[in-house]
């Protein structure tokens, strides 16, 4: 296997392919950094161009865009508080506060290193565990997916602090997600007769609204004439000490990310949420999350880039795309006569090896660009808020519009911006709401499909894989509490010892 990869390496790494891969990564970073423009869109626009190119360079370029785009989302999340892509929502929670206090360069540095390490772990898993993970993903039927969505929602509702506000936020998201045609019967639900709402409320305008516009409103609300802390651009590289401190969360999140990414239909967003909340629940100082904790950047960034490698697994091995980007990537592959699925490993093994190689190469290009440009990106925040905020708002509007070329998406964005601002003021959690929107409909359709399939037998949710996930749910609920309990007891004991 490794000899094949080496020979593929020798034949594929030509000047042309490397150049296209680098262009792809750069393009991906730029597109990802603009809120609302996602790698999915960039690939859709690039497909006509790659059609006239040779297969290998176009493959290199598309993988570059994919990796660059997932990473680029974090730049906007950190600098503007507006996640460039859904998967980078969690990064904004700690990245943006860090940037506001003048450490934008450092925050981007942490995001870059974590994305790189996460991406590499994802690649290694893709390389070594592809068939194993594919065979696991293949065992996921409707009941397993339903339990998985329950897992994700429970984890985040639990970790967002107060479980009651967490559940309210999640329920709000689920409510938003069920607007539109009923996934099982086609009935129009909660559309109030609007044709535009028949296809539901799109995620991208919601996301830009809940995270981006609400943050802008918040900044306007707090707009003062005091000068902002100037950006310290000297320290982009976070330093080996910090890296060794956060290597645990990075590795754990990368494994989580790869695994969740490998399950079709969940992808980077869910893995970033899960990783963030797991680390938050596990941390000794959960209160520092959301205020600029480096782990809060490292965990989701590592997870969402690891999910890239993960998502390629079901795409290659099962012809089932793990997320929107792999869906379109599969189409792009088909244009070049590459057909994913169980036959690809025997019919086109060289293609699989090429994918491995450029996955790794794209990650290397990404870390170089990220470290090179972080200090320049960070300078954006030094611009006066009175200029910056309208510009960002404009970018947000364009992003929301281009999600499907409809004006009404901008209205959706603004409405959700106001809702998001009210969420912030009332202590509800925007992140939980987004996850509710991402998972609500999936969860419902999987549940109902499972019930239809089993003729109403609830036992179907307790098949072996489901039981494993249920166990994980319980573990996630209990482990932070036990940890806290042990720490408290230790502290009490210490206090008691001190008294003696």
């Amino acid at each position: 296997m490794f000899e094949n990869i080496l020979s593929a390496l020798a034949s594929n790494l030509t000047f042309e392919t490397v150049l296209f891969c680098i262009i792809g990564v750069l393009l991906g970073i730029i597109v990802g950094a603009i809120p609302g423009l996602t790698a999915t869109m960039a690939i859709a626009i690039l497909i006509p161009f790659t059609y006239s190119m040779d297969m290998i360079p176009s493959l290199a370029m598309l993988l570059g865009v994919y990796n660059g785009g997932v990473y680029g989302g974090s730049i906007a999340a950190i600098l503007m508080g507006v996640p460039g892509t859904p998967a980078s929502s969690m990064t904004s929670l700690d990245g943006h506060p860090m940037a506001r206090r003048g450490e934008g360069g450092r925050a981007i540095g942490i995001a870059t290193i974590s994305s790189f390490l996460g991406g590499i772990v994802g690649c290694v898993c893709l390389l070594i565990l592809c068939s194993l993970l594919a065979s696991i993903a293949q065992k996921f039927g409707f009941p397993e997916y339903f339990v998985l969505t329950v897992f994700a929602l429970v984890v985040i509702a639990n970790a967002s602090g107060d479980i009651v506000t967490g559940l309210i936020s999640a329920a709000f998201g689920v409510l938003v997600s069920i607007v539109g045609s009923d996934g099982m019967t086609g009935y129009a639900r909660l559309t109030f007769g609007s044709v535009a709402l028949r296809s539901g409320i799109s995620l991208i305008p919601c996301l830009i609204g809940l995270f981006g516009v609400s943050e802008l409103i918040n900044q306007l609300y707090n707009l003062r004439d005091e000068p902002k802390p100037r950006q310290k651009v000297g320290k982009v590289f976070p330093g080996w000490k910090l890296i060794s401190e956060i290597k645990g969360p990075i590795l754990r999140s990368a494994v989580t990310g790869t695994f969740i990414g490998a399950l079709p239909g969940t992808g980077g967003t869910v893995s970033a949420f899960t990783a963030y909340n797991y680390e938050k629940g596990r941390a000794e100082d959960p209160d520092s999350f959301g205020k600029g904790n480096p782990v809060g950047i490292a965990a989701p960034e590592s997870a969402n880039n690891a999910a890239v490698g993960g998502a390629l697994i079901p795409m290659l091995a099962l012809a089932v795309p793990g997320d929107g980007i792999t869906a379109i990537l599969m189409g792009a592959f088909a244009l070049h006569g590459i057909y994913c699925g169980p036959t690809i490993f025997t019919e086109a093994p060289e293609i699989v090896n090429t994918v491995y190689i450029f996955e790794i190469f794209a990650n290397i290009a990404m870390v170089i660009f990220g470290m090179m440009f972080a200090r320049w990106f960070a300078k954006v925040i030094d611009i006066d808020d009175r200029i910056l905020i309208p510009v960002i708002l404009l970018v947000c509007m364009i992003g929301a519009f281009s999600a499907s070329n409809h004006m009404y998406q901008i209205v959706v964005m603004l409405v959700f911006g106001i809702i998001g601002f009210m969420f912030r003021k009332t202590g509800l959690d925007n992140g939980t709401a987004i996850l509710g929107i991402v998972l609500g409909k999936t969860s419902e359709v999987k549940f109902r499909s499972a019930m239809a399939m089993s003729r109403g037998d609830i036992g179907v949710f307790f098949r072996p894989i489901c039981l494993v996930i249920w166990a994980l749910v319980i573990f996630m609920l209990i482990s932070p509490r036990i940890g806290n309990y042990l720490r408290r007891r230790k502290a009490e004991k210490k206090a008691a010892d001190d008294r003696c």
Binding site: R198, V320, Y339, L394
Partner: protein, 348 residues
């Protein structure tokens, strides 16, 4: 100070880029309605020798990432070449509400030959499903391009049945036992599965969702469903590997790729469900332009490159002239209206 300047430049570049990418797909739409261009097109109304003189907007009423979009990427360069005059189509993907969002937009464009729509069979469902009062009759029909049909799939190692006859026999003997996986409820492939159950009289549970063909393949291999009735799509890789067998196709004649697999009609049940893609233009587009487009699409659709691409992607190139396609569309509309009414999906 210098840094501030650089930052401002950077921001300007980002903004310009985002403007570019935001408007790229849309710019042609706005230029179509500008007074300058409409004046220039009225100047040549009697002579279309130079058609097209500017970009043609092609509305795609489905997402930019689906298999229809990929197919269009292959077809359009061939059409552009056949049309000559440096013809350029600008694809504008406007998905939403069973393709009605994009088609309503396309219907209202100027009938000057510079806007067209690439449609799929979903439009036959728009009125019946209550999305909008819109049918093919609101457009002028140019021609069709390609088609795919609904097929019946079972596990490769299935022992209970191995063809349509034994499947129907088993299904009738075991009412309400089979689970049948299909595409999203209320979409055109779903109605293929629905029609199959109706015509054969099998009582079974239809489980429809939008996991795509390969997703359904996994449900089938897991044993969660017993039969899958949907379009082939990416499921072909599982047929190739032998894990899944295809036992019949709901097409008019046997598929080129699978000459040994009978049609459902051959098996004695009149189920023909094809999703055919074609080209519409706004009503009132000059006949001379429609003829030019039809001729160009005919060359492109019948080219070996396109035919082969379609076959590789579980579809078939399928050219019907404007008149033939219009007849086809009339039958299609009737069939789907009837199926929707029978299905009870829409409350009266």
């Amino acid at each position: 100070m210098k840094c501030k300047k650089i930052a401002a430049y950077f921001l300007a570049v980002v903004l310009c880029l985002s403007l570019l990418s935001g408007c790229g797909k849309q710019s042609e739409a706005s230029s179509g309605s500008s007074p300058v261009s409409s004046a220039s097109s009225s100047a040549v109304t009697d002579e279309y020798a130079n058609y097209p003189e500017r970009d043609i907007e092609l509305v795609l009423p489905v997402g930019a990432s689906g298999d229809t979009a990929v197919n269009v990427q292959v077809l359009i360069p061939l059409v552009e070449e056949a049309l000559g005059n440096d013809a350029t189509f600008v694809v504008n993907a406007m998905p939403g509400a069973a393709s009605s969002v994009g088609l309503l937009y396309a219907r209202d464009q100027k009938a000057d030959g510079y806007s067209a729509a690439f449609t799929n069979t979903n439009h036959a469902l728009i009125r019946a499903m209550g999305y909008a009062d819109l049918t093919y009759e609101d457009f002028d029909v140019v021609c069709s391009a390609y088609t795919e049909c609904v097929d019946v799939f079972i596990r490769g190692d299935e022992t209970r049945f191995n063809d349509i006859a034994s499947l129907v026999e088993y299904g009738l003997a075991h009412p309400d036992e089979l689970n049948i996986g299909t595409a999203v409820v209320g979409g055109c492939f779903y109605f293929g599965a629905f029609d199959f159950l109706k015509k054969t009289g099998i009582e079974a549970t239809l489980i429809g969702n939008d996991e795509g063909s390969a997703g359904l393949a996994i449900s089938l291999l897991n044993g969660d469903v017993d039969v899958v009735i949907t379009s082939m799509g990416t499921l072909n890789t599982y047929v190739k590997s032998g894990e899944i067998s295809m036992i019949a196709s709901a097409s008019e004649k046997r598929l080129t790729n699978y000459p040994d697999v009978p049609t459902i009609t051959e098996c004695g049940y009149d189920v023909v469900l094809m999703s055919t893609r074609g080209i519409f233009v706004p009503k009132g587009t000059p006949q001379a332009i429609k003829d030019k487009l039809e001729a160009a699409f005919e060359i492109a659709v019948n080219s070996d490159a396109y035919k082969q691409f379609c076959l590789d992607n579980s579809a078939e190139a399928y050219f019907l002239s404007g008149e033939e396609y219009e007849e086809y569309l009339a039958e299609e509309l009737e069939l789907f209206t009837e199926l929707v009414n029978d299905s009870g999906l829409v409350k009266k």
